[in-house]
Amino acid sequence: MTRVGILTGVEYDALMLSLKVAICSAVTSLPIAVAVAVVLARHSFPGKSLVDGLVHLPLILPPVVTGYILLLTLGQRGVIGEWLDRVLGIVIAFRWTGAAVASAVMGFPLMVQAIRLSIEGVDRRLEEASSTLGANRAMVFLTVTLPLILPGILAGLILSFARGLGEFGATITFVSNIPGETQTIPLAIYSFTQSPTGDVPALRLTVISVVLSLAALMLSNRLSLVLKRRLQGRTA
């Protein structure tokens, strides 16, 4: 069996896949989350509570249900999945990209919530000041709003990343448990626990999970401290 350091090939694959899935899902869902957070924080329109509810649905639904809905819509015979396959030649079901989509959907409400809170905390009078100095709406957002909500964006990224690392139910339902393709750390741990000889590898992956999550959390705290200090005028 191939080994990478202390890890077996399967464990190493699971670790790298988990990182890839969690990072890709957090980064690609970020712009959409910012847009949705701006709309929810700043605009009122008919059906807003419905949109708000839909965004938060993955938080309350059993993850298996979310995964099954993804399978129904984005699977190869799903409404959108079929179209993606036929027109664009894109297949995400049973691929690592599907795992990323599942983890993005599961992390989305957390990300939107964190960003929305920071947008609601922005002093709109600063945006008014910016517009009287000649900035149009896009420039106001880029030069004032965005820098001020950076701590919230960071928090959202980390929350979504951590959620992606831990995602299990929606992933296994939507893209199954294929070693090297969709088998992330939680799925690998699950597989090992089903095997009589899996105790040690499961424990190794468990330790890695704990270390990764803790590191992400500490990095996030550190960065947000730096950002807050910069806003308050001290150097970190």
């Binding site: 600063l126 910016s130 100095l133 030069t143 001020l148 806003l231 005028g233």
Partner: protein
Amino acid sequence: MILDVDITCRLGAFTVDAQFTGAGGVTALFGHSGAGKSSLVNMIGGLLRPDRGHITLDGRALFDSKHHIHLPPNRRRISYVFQDARLFPHLSVRNNLLYGRWFTPAGERWAQFAPIVELLGIGDLLQRRPSTLSGGEKQRVAIGRALLASPRLLLMDEPLASLDADRKAEILPYIERLRDELKLPIVYVSHALDEVIRLAGTLVLLESGRVVAAGPVADVMRRLDVRRLTGQDHPRTVIDTRIEDHDTRFGLTRLTFDGGVLQVPYLALPVGTAVRVAIRDRDIGLAVTRPQGVSLINILPGTVVDIADTADESEAHADVLVQIGRWQLVARISRLSAHDLDLAPGKPVFALFKAMALDAESLGRAPGPETMAAL
């Protein structure tokens, strides 16, 4: 610069319905809190959209309900100094100052960085973060930031209201320099009459969302019918004078105006400087013949224009409006004296006031001759 405002705007149960024209220098919007001053200035700046009417600056429509024009703030070229500085916390002082400059077309940048920084005395603050500045420093940086956007008009919404007396005294001379050295037209919102008298050429009085009086400061200040607004603390009238000479032997300065000569405590300003004198009503006495053997050295002949007798038996005073040259002063005397002297419109009188009553608080540099000429 001609700013023409004629707007109506309903804000809940409150309606702002205002018409006025500002021409160069400082146009002060004065009134009690809740009079609609800030709403009005927000409409000029484009932060609030009126329901009806028009706002034009030098003939260019900023808002016109008939033609569906409502320029967003960023296209008005009007800078705004807010009461609460509103500096960007994520930018250094330097980048705050340069912020508006980025958005100003190169051909329209009249404000240069170095002279403005010099003018406001903020050269030592450039590397600092806004949160480390004192209130007065913040407000000076906010003024610099507004200027460096090279505005056609500067709006100042109670820029001194959140500062203590020392900080106010620190900022006021800088605002005078904008007026006199940069010749920048300013709309200045205030509920402090001292600032208005010191800075403004034109005074617009607001009450409950309506303009109750507008015109040159001296003209509005002498109007007895709006004294309920201009008479706070100690009612006073305003005369613009020029330093004629100094009497070093007795520590006096002689000021001339077209109604005569005023002698006031020594002013450390060069001969020829324009000085605005604000005289409290209660410091003026009246005589029907030229008094002899009194200590009062300011005795100016004039004519009674109007008397506001309260006719309220419990009130002791009567306000008498007296014409002296081109200027009019209000003397607050006892109703008994007004009765005994048989004062009536058209009667010649002498206005008397003590030189020592004209303390530093009532004397300030008047808007420069250019500014006054533009009015």
